[in-house]
């Protein structure tokens, strides 16, 4: 029998195994077993699959949980945990109070009303589970560079640091708005995200309820389909 000796790098068989693991995972949502890899890659012995898997592990292409059934996984695009769900709590619009989640909401939200975000997209360490999402309704947030239909991801908080973009409810003005927050001597400065627009000032005697800190804005451009 002829066997080709590879000088270095990944051989054809290594690649085939890698591809199979990826496609199997996509189809069955879990990794293949050693025997399944063998069958689909024309390897008749489990020990040979194990042999290749060891090499792929050493070369950093896969990770293995030995002793554990189907404990193979491709390095990188991690199967889970690289994205998380954010519950969609409702809409945010001018003149309406901002819906904020209660503790109950966090545990009972349905997957349908949620937004999936890749971990790699999340700024800093906001990767907690306490985030929530709101859909912007109306064009009242355009001075915050946020348009009708946009999705804003918020982190619930009552106090903001200077420079945070916050969702605030100004009950005196019956107004909901998204602005950059700055605390000044005797008043608050709410700075629109759009640099061409001027800030508004809120006297400390007026009520200003910070409902959350904006972490991300997502706009799906799919109108007129």
């Amino acid at each position: 029998m002829m066997m080709v000796r590879k000088s270095k790098g990944l051989g054809e068989r290594h690649q085939k195994i890698l591809d199979f693991i990826a496609s199997y995972q996509r189809e069955y949502k879990h990794p293949p077993s050693i025997r399944e890899i063998g069958e689909h890659c024309d390897i008749s012995s489990t020990s040979v699959v194990n042999y290749y898997l060891d090499q792929l592990e050493k070369s950093g292409n896969i990770e293995r949980d030995r002793k554990i059934s189907r404990g193979v996984r491709l390095t990188g695009g991690s199967p889970l945990g690289d994205m998380f769900r954010v519950p969609m709590m409702g809409v945010i619009q001018a003149g309406e109070p901002i819906p904020v989640p209660s503790n109950a909401d966090f545990s009972t939200f349905s997957p349908e009303d949620s937004v999936e975000i890749a971990m790699s997209l999340m700024p800093a360490k906001e990767k907690g589970k306490e985030l929530f999402a709101l859909q912007v309704q109306g064009e009242s947030m355009i001075d915050a560079m946020v348009n009708d239909g946009d999705i804003v991801i918020l982190k619930p908080t009552q106090d903001a640091r200077n420079g945070d973009m916050v969702a605030v409810w100004l009950s005196d003005r019956n107004e909901t708005t998204l602005k950059f927050f700055f605390k000044e001597k005797d008043k608050f400065r709410l700075q629109p995200a759009n640099p061409t627009m001027k800030p508004i000032y809120i006297d400390k005697s007026e009520s200003l309820e910070i409902k959350g800190k904006v972490v991300m804005v997502i706009r799906k451009v799919e109108r007129y389909i």
Copy 2:
């Protein structure tokens, strides 16, 4: 022994199991076994865990691959394939041509320079692999409701339908811009996304190069950290 009878919905134990599966998966990158669930949820019998798992499956909270080791997974947050990478081709800024990917770029982009998007966030059926991303530099796109630092996801195309938001290069004006595209009698109308701003008109004699259709805009609000 006292046992609390739950009238409906998910009991405390159901929730505990759900939470454990999630945290276990995060830590070990693979689902827990029935026995492991039992240990960490104070259930001494595997049959009882199985009993709860059956209920959670019926209620749609989990999916199971019976007969397969550790074949439990939370519904929704799918392990893989529900997100894909979009290569980050560079920056888009006024006065500079828009970088568009070549075929070579698509196969050789590195994971570091890419953006991960959840499938569920993608509009319509743009779920092809031919998308690419650009980082907005400067504040020249504010009339498109796109700010400095934003990430725009584009689908390369030369022709746009009315109403599409497109990235265009106007070589006569040495200008790069993002606008809603409308073809009119003898000219093109480029409508800013910001409804308070007026459209600009491009005569058909002028050069107008459509580089791509905007599919999504992502803004990470993390300044001033």
